[in-house]
């Protein structure tokens, strides 16, 4: 192990953690407000697709970015209407949204461009130019190679994570969110508009999912491929679960899972080709192990006669 390799690994960790952190921090708000949202996956996928598609069609990155936000927000408003307003089952609607996210991009790509696998927009977007050079970091030796030359959304993510943690624990809105999730009756009785709180949380999550999708498709590659999200939504869901719905803890798990993903990418270069496809299970195994480690100390509490449902 030489030092460059480790630095490279850490740099890739930051890269890989960005979408994880974004989806997680938005999802924490939704989870905290008592909405078990498994459509994070679909929302991110739609945003990634919309960013590239509309950017490609209009010839302007800005249009792509805006439409990604709009699509994600519209999707979560639909989710809000169906589940919170009209009381449909959360998991069922989430599943349906995820399936939609798997087939609508494929269908549209086939209809508009004749391929059902990917849409290359590198003529419009140069992924190399998306990396930002931060002058302050240039003189700091280790941090420079880890944190410099990342994308704009990566830097935005750090700010956003801190902002949202403060929003959760230091503001009235945060208290309302937590009360809504813990005891909706109590929240209602003191006059908190719980539906509106849930809607706001879903909107926060829509924005972060859109950022994550844009980071994946527009910033990193300039290409949209089918199933680009690759279970990131579910990975973030488990990060939220591992972190017991607390934003700072969930973010730590998001970074751990990002590290597993980066490790997988690095290891791919060092193992024989035959095994390299097996390395793909690394993030998933990490998550199951993490869930186990988190839940085992709680198992004793659950054994007190009463089985607690999810």
């Amino acid at each position: 192990m030489n030092i460059n390799l480790i630095l490279n690994l850490l740099k890739m960790t930051v890269e890989a953690s960005t979408p994880y952190l974004l989806i997680t921090i938005g999802g924490v708000f939704v989870a905290r407000a008592g909405v078990f949202n498994i459509s994070l996956e679909g929302c991110t996928e739609f945003a990634a697709f919309a960013g590239i598609l509309f950017g490609f069609l209009s010839g302007s990155i800005l249009v792509g970015v805006l439409s990604a936000f709009l699509v994600a927000i519209a999707l979560n408003i639909v989710f809000y209407l169906f589940t919170v307003k009209w009381n449909a089952d959360l998991t069922v609607i989430g599943c349906a949204v995820n399936l939609l996210a798997a087939c609508i991009p494929a269908c549209l790509l086939q209809a508009l461009f004749g391929t059902r696998s990917n849409l290359v927009a590198t003529s419009l977007i140069d992924p190399m130019k998306m990396k930002v050079d931060v002058p302050i970091l240039r003189s700091v030796p280790v941090l420079n190679s880890i944190f410099n030359h990342q994308t704009r959304i990566t830097y935005l993510t750090f700010a956003l994570v801190i902002f949202l943690i403060i929003l959760m624990y230091r503001t009235k809105f945060g208290i309302y969110v937590r009360v809504t999730g813990e005891n909706i009756g109590a929240a209602k009785s003191v006059g908190v508009k719980t539906n509106r709180i849930k809607l706001l949380c879903l909107l926060i999550s829509a924005v972060t999912c859109a950022l994550a999708g844009l980071n994946l498709s527009v910033e990193e590659l300039g290409i949209y491929t089918i199933n680009m999200t690759a279970n990131r939504g579910f990975i973030c869901l488990s990060a939220i679960n591992c972190g017991r719905k607390e934003p700072h803890r969930a973010c730590v798990y998001a970074v751990i899972f990002g590290f597993a993903r980066a490790l997988q990418t690095i290891l791919n270069n060092y193992v024989p080709v035959a095994i390299s496809s097996l390395i793909g299970i690394l993030p998933y195994v990490t998550i199951i192990v993490a869930l186990l480690i988190v839940e085992i100390p709680n198992a004793r509490k659950n054994h007190l006669r009463i089985f607690r449902g999810a």
Partner: protein, 372 residues
Amino acid sequence: MKGDTFRRKAVNIGIKFCDIVIPLILAFGVGAIFSLICGCNPFTLYGYIIKRSFLSVGGILNTLGYATPIIITGMATSLSLKAKVFNMGVEGQVFVGAFAAALAGYMITGLPTFLHVTLCLLTAAAAGALYAAIPGVLKARLNVNEVVTTIMLNSIATIVTGFLTQSYLGTGDAYAHTENILQTARLVKLDSKYRCTTAVFIALIIWAFVFFLMKKTKFGYDINCIGKQVEFSDAVGMRVSRKIIWIFVIGGSFGGIAGATEIMGVNYNFVNTFSANPGIGWDGFFACILAGSEPIGVLLYAIVFGALRYGALAAQTGLGVPLDLINIVKSTLVLFMALKLFANHRSAFQDLLTRARKKNKAALTAEGEDVL
């Protein structure tokens, strides 16, 4: 009084009917929009699908062939959904079961046909059950969220089986697949030209078994109670965590069998893409959701899904419409069906009704007074 109960029944049936028909219209409407985007007249498309999948003997056999694994996975899911446990890992269990059956199909030699087929099915069931036991135990003993674990295990199953076929068990061909299973391990096709095999009878047996289990046994009753009220079931002394493990294990073994029937009846070797877009486990899951995990509904929806799948494949070659279009119809159907607009929001409609009735009554009494 009699008229009143009759009217209530009629209203109930009407509500159920509306809740099925209106989502269907909406879903096929959305499908029509996408079909227009793809440059195909929606009526031609839907007509073509119905014609190909239902209006000929071969079409029906193909439809049944596609529906067979969906029936099995649908029933596997319905057990867990009845208990409000979201076992989304049927897809992974299908992969594991199919892989096990493919291995048992060519590695074990020298058995008579019947024994070999049974052995393959049992291997697949055992593999699926073991794989499903992991999230089951995690859920029951440690209360780990089952949605997350099952989906992670799905990815692991796909990657590991793909890896094994590619590197160790492959035949070295351009695309990775295991060796063909022996003649003795194959399920017989009802008609050699079409997809339907004897597996359809296996599916029906499993369907009847789950139906019996859910409706007529204590276990089924317990499952129902757990689904309605976990804490209560636990408090009155049902062994909830043990039941949850059983639900996963039974569902997993069926998932394994579903994968095995695909390998033993249709593919004859394991290819990593045998269940894709969206996969037979997912199709079963959605059929189960649409039917509200009622066995008869699952059977019907599974056949409809089989028809849609076959029709969509036919339409892809015949009309050049992407296969994904039919998935859009499917998922919008789930979306609107989950709403249960009329059943859940009855009070609003009932208010309207009673108001109308009161008006009527008022008018009637007014008339009566006139007569008096």
